[in-house]
């Protein structure tokens, strides 16, 4: 029977269709991190590495970045549930000697914008009108901080967003 053959074929197609459900995986970029580059305060055009830098977001126990010997640029996630994030940058924080540690805090304020990406990735957050200030203490190793653009928006990780002079 021709009609039976087609019927069986139809049922088969239906089963094949239902057996493959998850067809999309997230490949797009999700929430961008803050990218900071470190410059020499005496020669503002020259990148300058920070020795034994450790970085964490205020309110989180663990360090996000630790153990890198020396670096002139970092990327760090900022809070998607508040309009501000305080970041602790510890000079010489990654070595075993605790006496030479120097903690500086920078405070970021911004306007959040949740953006839909796709079925598999869901939503990401853009940070608009970012402002950054250094919290003054007795011994700031960070001398100056500048956003690269004005106004500075963080919408991707392709370019740096902040310059730190030290």
């Amino acid at each position: 029977m021709k009609i039976l053959k087609i019927f069986t074929l139809l049922i088969l197609i239906i089963f094949i269709f239902f057996s493959c459900e998850k067809d999309e995986i997230c490949l797009e970029e999700n929430t961008p991190r803050l990218i900071i580059r470190f410059y020499d305060v005496d020669e503002p055009e020259t990148l300058k590495k920070v020795s034994q830098l450790a970085v964490r977001v205020d309110g989180v126990e663990e360090f996000y970045l630790e153990g890198s010997i020396a670096t002139d640029s970092i990327a760090i996630p900022i809070k998607v549930d508040y309009d501000s994030t305080s970041i602790e940058l510890v000079l010489n924080g990654s070595d075993l000697n605790l006496d030479n540690d120097n903690s500086d805090f920078i405070n970021l304020t911004y306007i959040r914008e949740d953006v839909f990406v796709s079925r598999s990735c869901g939503y990401k957050t853009f940070f608009n009108d970012v402002n950054a200030i250094i919290e003054p203490d007795d011994d700031n190793w960070i001398k100056d901080i500048l956003t690269i653009e004005l106004p500075q928006n963080i919408i991707d990780e392709n370019n740096a967003h902040l310059k730190i002079y030290h």
């Binding site: 039976l4 139809l10 996000y64 996630p77 998607v80 549930d81």
Partner: protein
């Protein structure tokens, strides 16, 4: 979800049995001049009501109808309503709205005398008007910071979609004037009005929108033929 799969097997199997028993009781008609029945056939889709019994996330109803215009051609259409909640990894959303599909069916099956079964090759133009509600979402961000969930629903009203649909199916007369049908359809969106900060990932009548705007559908229908005349 597992129970849904089992259910699909059972329903399909019952239909399969139904067709087998049908062909074993072919009635012979003596009259050499058998005339085909022409008329309006109306029915409902069984797939969504049965699906809804096992899955709270979907409610739907669809009325189907066709009208025979030529020996092998029918004008056909569907009218339906659907309320569906989709859960993704990072968000959940509810789609609700109604739809209409209009087109034609072609019978590719040469019946033995006196039988009016169909291998249906169909084409439809579908339109849906619907709302989308994003019930909650979680920002996809670095796992270093705590997960942030926004659970204030966001409603997008007055969305629409137009699509084209091709279907292949069977329609068999199980009782006098009573037909059961099964059909599988492939769809493609022509145009759709998406919300500003979201995408129409599910459309009533179209179902899940796959990458490149493709979609699939299954229908199990039971319908009744109101014969108008014979020809």
């Amino acid at each position: 979800m597992r129970i849904m799969h089992i259910l699909k097997y059972i329903i399909s199997f019952l239909f399969f049995l139904g067709t087998v028993s049908l062909f074993s009781q072919e009635k012979e008609i003596d009259t050499a001049k058998y005339k085909d029945r022409y008329g309006l056939r109306v029915g409902i889709d069984l797939f969504n009501p049965v699906y809804a019994l096992f899955d709270d996330n979907r409610k739907g109803l669809e009325i189907v109808a066709d009208y025979r215009i030529l020996k092998r051609f029918w004008i056909a259409g569907e009218l339906g309503y659907m309320d569906n909640t989709t859960r993704e990894d990072h968000f959940t959303f509810t789609t609700n709205g109604s739809y209409i599909k209009v087109g034609a069916d072609f019978n590719a099956y040469k019946n033995a005398l006196g039988m009016e079964n169909m291998i249906v090759v169909g084409m439809r133009y579908g339109v849906s008007i619907f709302d989308q509600t994003v019930n909650e979402y979680t920002i996809n961000s670095d796992p270093y910071l705590p997960i942030h969930t926004n659970d204030i629903p966001i409603v997008y009203n007055n969305l629409n979609a137009h699509w084209i649909e091709f279907s292949l199916g069977l329609k068999v007369e199980v009782l006098h004037n009573v037909y059961m049908g099964v059909a599988f359809s492939g769809k493609h969106i022509i145009t759709t009005k998406n919300p500003d900060n979201f995408k129409n990932l599910f459309i009533p009548g179209f179902n899940r929108v796959y990458v490149n705007d493709f979609g699939f559908g299954i229908n199990y229908t039971i319908s009744y033929l109101i014969p108008f005349y014979r020809k």
